[in-house]
Symmetry: C2
Subunit: 195 residues, 2 copies
């Protein structure tokens, strides 16, 4: 489990989210974020290279959660089972008490194309990292990419569902359902391909 220390980085992050949501991302400066929690702009830049990075703080912890899931898969697991294990491990990064935070963060990202691009880049780089981990377990090159990308797709769809206003289920339950849907989707196409 990931622990969230009530340190300066976390206080700045929380304040930034609130300011971005109320005033808008573009209209909020690093100094305003820092001052709103009694810190200096200098302290802000000791923790974050720019205000955009506030929204992506902790990304490595998410990557680590995916990788821990790869390691946790039994030696005889198939490539897709390893990807599923990585996905399941990543869901522990999003306990119920993070849902409000994730929802707020996403609403800010949805309003800014540059942030959307950064988020896409983040997901792409997680898929690349998981694919590399699969290769280190001996999974063939293309298969590793396919399994990791499929896992990332399931992750993204499950995340979008998890933060919906009326959603009550856990991230893990939703991810498992989306994964099952992917497996049944591809199963019904196995019989006849267009060529």
């Amino acid at each position: 489990m990931v622990r969230w220390e009530p340190g300066a980085a976390e206080r700045l992050q929380k304040a930034a989210l609130e300011l971005f949501a109320t005033r808008g991302f573009e209209q909020t400066t690093a100094m305003e974020i820092a001052e709103s929690v009694g810190l200096t702009e200098r302290t802000f830049f000791r923790h974050f290279s720019d205000k955009r990075e506030v929204l992506f703080h902790g990304q490595q912890l998410l990557v680590d959660a995916f990788l821990a899931g790869v390691d946790a898969a039994p030696p005889d697991a198939s490539p897709m089972e390893i990807a599923a294990s990585a996905l399941h491990s990543a869901t522990t990064f999003f306990p119920a008490e993070r849902r409000a935070h994730s929802r707020l963060r996403q609403s800010i990202i949805d309003q800014n194309p540059a942030l959307q691009e950064r988020e896409r880049h983040k997901l792409a780089s997680i898929a690349t990292t998981v694919a590399d981990a699969l290769r280190r377990r001996g999974v063939e090159d293309m298969t590793a990419t396919l399994a990791a990308e499929s896992g990332a797709t399931v992750f993204a769809i499950a995340f979008t569902q998890w933060i919906r206003e009326d959603e009550q289920r856990s991230f893990a339950d939703i991810a498992a359902e989306v994964l099952r849907e992917l497996l049944s989707l591809t199963a019904t196409a196995s019989a006849k391909l267009p060529r």
Copy 2:
């Protein structure tokens, strides 16, 4: 089949690719591109909003190729079969004679993070468009996204393989192989999920 008229846009595009590849994307101006084929900067900007867009000219034709494949799928096709049909249709956009062009274009994109982001955005928007087309055929929301994203993943992996220096097979053959690999990959995981 898509036809490439030998018009100004195509001449500018061809010249731009060569200049980007030899001098570098950042180091090449719109005026240099235009002058290299005896055209004016003004003509350049009648065709392209900026030099980055030269590399993404014709994107709508690719989107249309995907959508034509959705339409071509029989009424009783499963969601993944429709996505496969879209994928197969998109491969007609990349005949053997485009391989050198595609290879050159990719080598330019690989050297520039902003171009990589634009390319990721392009692929994401193709997946979104195909998912919407699946929904219009009555496919359920999440299933449509999963099928379209899976098709886009197969497309991206097949494209990367198609432009490899030693690759001889057609885009269609490679895409069919990657798709088969995805189906077999998910089939082996159906039996036991991590939860």
